[in-house]
Symmetry: C3
Subunit: 673 residues, 3 copies
């Protein structure tokens, strides 16, 4: 549809962006003045305007009120603050929904989702798209040449709340999407395997979305609906982008992703953006908050092909939408923000500038909380602004990475379908387990789309990669053939893009690569744990959960066996020499120590990393010539070799570094001549 | 709408009422005769007729069959039994629903609730209201001058099962309600904070009920819908009441409340009743059954401004609608019934007289169980009838109370909205915790509507009073200013009546009163417990759950600090001298012993109560010149000073009283000359 | 409707059937050839064709494609493999649903269940039934005289996924069903007890299905809807059967039941079948898998009045529809299959022959798994085929049984209704508890419909038989009167067929039989356990769960009393001499050892069984002159008296038999002269 070639980049000469969503329409003019003064005090240089302003900007078709926004633009501009202007299309206003109630989305079970919250629209609704286009055009013409306009923020968190709509408009759109994919009905019947359960379609108009049904809907139908839903939302973005490109070809566009969000295939979407942006809301009360936050940063960098990105939203402290919303601890947000910079972000933004007095997000923390200046949150806001200023411009400097995890939304949609050996398998949780083990080994990870060039990586992992296309499968095999190290975990390589099983022992296309054949899956019960045994484990006894496989060896050596359970004595982890490389197979969810041993073995022979983390919670990331050291855990020490300068304090540091919880150092090496 | 001034009172010269719901239409005439004989044997003097009799009384518009009821009236009347006549409007008959299917209510997610159970009507349905009016008019004309007619029982358990209807009729009615409240659409936009999430309405007809939506609906919209729903049901009552007032101005009217039931603002409703009545169904298997029962009695007395009330329904033993329905233990129901009398009831009634043979409530216990006379339940029925006779008429004698808890349905609706710091906060459970502590200290509590005159109380508690209007806030401040003792617990004083946050540190209007400023909420996880420390706790170590606050002191002293958790070392309980009084702040859910220490401190300087309970389960309540002593727990002793007469046995008692479980004494002091 | 008299029998001269569902339409012709070769290798002699083939057989009204099936028939026939031909009506094709969307079923809450899975039809839909009739007629005419046609398999797993439909067509059909049952509206009003909750109907067209309602729908309405739903599905079967009888009067018909499946009254259905068949899918990971499997076999034999039946479906290893799907252990499936033969099966079939490559059941195990010949599953398939061959023809030989449990779908529907003393009572779980105790005592059980002739049994149990009609009640009383031993467990004999309580102390009609009167139920909380005491228990201390009763003795002796809880000291188990027999009452859910003592007492005086199981997991069943010995548990020994031949190995065995887990022996006694 749209050609993506003329991509712009994130402005690179700038200092790091700092700011947040700004909703002046909720406040009176006297507050605006105070806002800008405090922004200047905190070092804010970018604010996002208009995300939820449609009903304030337009009160009827053709009837706009830009006066207040003009004023805000001037106020910000005159204080040196740039604008990330939202297209405001994420929440259609009451008058539009009232005029076109068919805009409202319908859920899986046929319930219409009413107006009254936000994002209540069907992405395939023509009245919605036309009204959005009118608004975007008006905004682009009004502000496209304003000097404060730094970037466009299309819509907001696409797919949030309504990932898939199941209305009659979507039914028709789904058919059109299927016609494009399969050309004729025989193609669909083959792909969906409709000889089973008497589902052979004889006409396109018999095909419907996978709505609530007596039992499991056709899995390929479900998989295609996930693809279609992601594409439907992408079409919304592309329609807005086309307008913006036409009116303001010089202004870069982005939208804010949501990290490990299932609904949107970010690898595909990122091609339509000039740069990537992400919202990151780890639960501060969770012990994995820093891990998830790091993974979200790595994912965003990865889908953007390594280019700098923006952390578009985060909470200074608590959010309001979990069942229980813990505040962030003092320093915690600074540590997480710096982690994002280390992983490639050129900006750190918040939702939102000033805490609302009313509405559904009034208890979401903000840079200016209800308690105002006299607060920890405000003091930390100011401090972070100063820190970012101290870092200067990082331009296009790159995060250093040498290991990769294959990641694929197609696989996510497929592996979590129903009617599987275990429905308890969560794709992102499996990925996170592995990510943690790489983190413990001091490695930053790229998430790579299957089928990409893998030659730059020392180790590549196919974790729970259930669905893998033939060409992607070949790329992985070639990578190992040519000397790479491949690690494959359970329930990988099982089906093709149509969710058809690769026949013969599992995993169909990788039996030779791995030197094994799997006869049968043997998923473990909830809470069931089996012991592992083998010299490879050294003194510690490992354990496995969630899964096991009945493996026949066809060339591979056994590293670790099952020590208990149904498969006692049978292979649990294998290793196979293949071409110039080697390939591991891991048939169960490993405890962290066993993962550590596997990765150490896989990485053996590769040079050590510069500074080794002294604890699981110490994060060490290299970006360009800077080393970010962040302690998310309890107090610990870290040994530095050589002499360094801390960019944040301008002080020299060397030897034993004492790290309090949430301490951050950004070092560069001092070369003494 | 209706003017409430011409309020009648509950007939006060009568003996205590005793009886139950009577459904003779389920039985043949020979059973009726047996019924009345057994009623006389048990001392029954009042029965409730007609609650679910609409379909038996009327078979088509204009077509009534009163013959059987005439007969029953005569039979009862001739045996000295009075009638509490239900208006029978709680369950519309099949013919009406079939003629007007739009009467059926629709739920939050759009599902129509079918006929086949009970109470299947939309309160705003005009066909329902018109048919109800026809029936009420006919009943009033038929029985209004019958000598057995003691009182009117309007409808039944308003709001039970269907608290809010979301149909299109309600949508229109909601708009009319909103127009009355906000006059113009700008008023609604301000109150609902519609600048957020693009919700600015430009016309009333865009406004809908808060039906199922992509995410959290506007909180003020939700709050207003709760108010509207309570008012819609009240309108039903007022329409019936207007007819009854016109035809039978001399007969008092009531309806049966349901204790701590969220759907109906009893303070507002009680103004429309001549006296209050309540249904009370504590779970006999729960250790808090007597506590909840006591609180229900206190609430009913409180909403009725202290006037005598009727316990309109309770079960002699098991109910049938819990997942598992335990019977009451021998004596348990007598103890609970006497507790109600002590707390102001002038009658003890049951659901129902005779256990049904068929239908959904056939396993609900009854005064005459399936096993008939040869049963513990029947023997206890007779015994309670005798006990009530022994008590004679209590007239308008008052329960003695000197402490109060502020209670407000507006707050209940608001504090349990979604998108809050913690969604695990239950308003009634929080209130019950506090109520238990007062009970342990031997105090009977009034539940007082915020904004009422508080001067008669020694201690007043604002517990989880999240929403507080400015005038109510001032009343509380004044009360302390003038020497009262105020206790405020966490998440109180946060928003105004529109659910808008009072800005600045929390709690907006009470910072000065309490001498503190709260920066941020820090809700605790499920099951998380933090320790408390401070000399105030003496030797015992306290603990907090559910909540904590980041408190800055502005004049208050710290009584207790957090001993662990995120806020270790920071204030947990504070005390502030204010005017002639003092104000406490409690920032977490306290263990009972710590609550005991706080209340002891708050009550210090006030004279001791006459008889101090020897155990948490011993209830001691003064009504008029009677002291009710009820032991809901295991065997214990109680020391009496002076000499007393037990009204139930006419015996003299003094010294050490041995209390078996469920023993009841009703004493008055013997003044020896 | 149809007269059942001309019943055919399962062909009895045949060897045991062995095979499975065969779906050649999913595969290309070259696979067909391989299929048949492997079938011959495994000893397959029967396959089920066409279960989900409607859309492959018919592409429009009147437009059939039988070519591929003709070919398959020939291929099978020429290899000596017979066909169980499904009528293919279980899953209507897309073109039919598209032409008649009203075919789609509607659920309890009004949601239409969409096309896309299987079995998406309303059983009362005329367009569905007419289209089904057209298909059945065409199939019968095409294949009715083919020599390979062994039997008809009508539809598939009736009631699976959609047990009850609540659409408007069903509303009308329900009324017609009610008119037949009650003749006039007064009859319905009496049966449903509509004087309660204002439900008196004045016209049939006011009556609706028990759809979602404000609270509990009328229980008799719910009960009648369960009856109606079973009958609606039965009507579908009868319509197909009428066509088959007409076209192919010589071919026996069956359908595949689902064991303890609530939706279908198998006693009534079995009368319409020439022989019974069942699908059996115990969870291999559950410790009760062999127990449930045995009970399913006994139930299928019982509903078929003792005649041989077919195990129509089972999984060779894992299924795919549980949350977590464990594979069967090596040998486990053989052990379960042999148990079915022992309990009367004349055939062992699987779902399915070859594992699918696509669709919702691709991870369901199959006789030919994805990994093909090189697999444990295939080797076990071949082994079982050989075993069955070794057993030869078992003809009409009978399983030996002398104890019975009364079983009734009417009761199942009634006892699990809402608004009961405890809603946690599961009828099949209660039955299974008792079944386990009989199994531990080495007894095979018949499940007998209440009201049947009981004279052949030593002991008959009425377990949780809440609903019992008067005639069935009398039959049970007579059985004891004439010397039988009756055991009654809690919540039995409570209501009549209209769900009306038998008044007086419970259990209404059996008070005299049992010599007790129950005043009140006292259900126990989840997890609550009360101790039992009495000399009868010997040294072990028993316990009760779930239930207890307040029992007054009227002639019975107390065997066991409650040792703790609300009813401490009161009777828990009683025994009453009645006529020439005796009757026990058990008022709580007993631990297995106490059940063992009760059954031992009940069985005392009856001759011992031939071989006594040495462990709970050792199954010993006599069929004809064969003794099946199967060890489902860990390794154990078994003492044999006399000399025996093992039919499977043709070896002689005697003395101490060592039984590995899943070992199977099929012995007949060697009579030495």
């Amino acid at each position: 549809m749209t050609v993506y070639s003329e991509r712009l980049s994130l402005p690179l000469g700038r200092p790091l962006y700092f700011g947040g969503d700004y909703n002046p329409e909720q406040w009176s003019r006297d507050v605006w003045q105070q806002d800008v003064e405090m922004m200047v005090e905190a070092g804010v240089n970018l604010v996002t305007l208009g995300v939820f302003s449609w009903s304030r900007l337009q009160s009827a078709p053709g009837k706009f009120d830009f006066g207040w926004m003009d004023e805000i633009f001037e106020l910000l501009s005159s204080n040196g603050i740039m604008v990330d202007l939202a297209t405001a299309t994420a929440s259609p206003p009451p008058w539009l929904v009232h005029a076109h109630p068919e805009i409202l989305p319908r859920d899986f079970s046929g319930r219409t989702l009413s107006f009254g919250s936000r994002q209540s629209y069907c992405p395939n609704s023509r009245p919605y798209r036309d009204a959005a286009a009118e608004l975007v055009h008006a905004l682009a013409q009004r502000y496209g040449s304003h000097s404060a306009l730094e970037m466009w923020h299309i819509n907001n968190e696409y797919g949030c709340h309504v990932t898939s709509c199941y209305c009659d408009v979507c039914e028709v759109a789904f058919r059109e999407w299927l016609v494009k994919r399969y050309v004729d009905i025989a193609g669909l019947n083959f792909a969906w395997g409709t000889t089973f359960w008497s589902q052979i379609y004889t006409d396109w108009n018999q095909v419907t979305p996978p709505r609530i049904a007596p039992t499991f809907s056709n899995p390929t139908q479900q998989l295609d609906y996930a693809r279609f839903s992601s594409d439907s939302l992408l079409d919304c973005l592309l329609e807005e982008r086309a307008i913006l490109r036409e009116v303001t070809p010089q202004i870069p566009v982005t939208t804010n992703f949501m990290g490990f969000f299932k609904g949107v295939d970010q690898f595909k979407w990122a091609e339509a953006l000039d740069f990537c942006a992400v919202d990151n809301y780890p639960d501060p009360a969770s012990p994995t908050s820093s891990l998830i936050s790091g993974a979200v940063g790595d994912l965003t960098r990865s889908v953007g092909q390594g280019r700098p990105w923006i952390l578009m939203e985060q909470a200074p402290s608590a959010v309001n939408w979990r069942e229980i919303n813990a505040p962030k601890a003092p320093g915690q947000n600074r540590a997480l923000s710096m982690s994002s910079i280390a992983r490639g972000a050129n900006g750190v933004m918040y939702f939102q500038w000033r805490a609302a007095k009313a509405g559904a997000e009034k208890f979401h923390s903000a840079m200016v909380p209800h308690s105002g200046r006299n607060s920890r949150v405000w003091r930390e806001t100011v401090r972070l602004g100063n820190d970012l200023k101290a870092l200067g411009s990082l331009g296009s400097s790159q995060t250093l990475v040498d290991v990769a995890i294959l990641f694929d939304w197609d696989n996510w949609w497929a592996i979590e379908l129903d009617s599987h050996p275990s429905t308890k398998l969560s794709y992102p949780l499996g990925i996170l387990d592995l990510y943690r083990s790489f983190a413990r080994a001091g490695r930053v990870v790229d998430f790579v789309h299957p089928g990409s060039d893998l030659s730059r990586y020392k180790v590549v992992v196919a974790a729970n990669l259930y669905l893998v296309k033939e060409d992607a499968s070949c790329a992985f095999v070639e990578y190992v053939q040519n000397g790479g190290v491949g690690v494959v975990t359970y329930f990988s390589g099982i089906v093709d893009e149509n969710d058809h099983v690769y026949l013969g022992g599992y995993p169909g296309l990788w039996r030779e690569l791995l030197g094994i054949e799997i006869e049968e899956f043997s998923p473990l019960a909830i809470g069931e744990s089996v012991s592992l045994k083998g010299e490879f484990l050294q003194l510690h006894g490992g354990s496995g959960q969630q899964w096991s496989d009945s493996i026949n060896l066809v060339g591979a050596e056994v590293l670790v066996s099952f020590g208990s359970g149904r498969l006692e004595g049978m292979p649990a982890i294998t290793k196979n020499a293949f071409g110039s490389g080697k390939a591991y197979y891991v048939s169960t969810s490993l405890d962290p120590d066993t993962w550590g041993l596997v990765l150490t073995d896989a990485l053996s022979g590769h040079e050590e990393i510069a500074i080794r983390p002294s604890s699981e919670d110490v994060e060490i990331v290299n970006r360009g010539n800077l080393v970010f050291i962040i302690n998310h855990g309890l107090k610990t020490n870290l040994s530095l070799e050589g002499d360094w300068i801390d960019v944040l304090t301008k002080c020299e540091v060397s030897g034993e570094l004492s790290l309090e919880q949430y301490d951050v150092y950004v070092l560069y090496r001092l070369i003494r001549e």
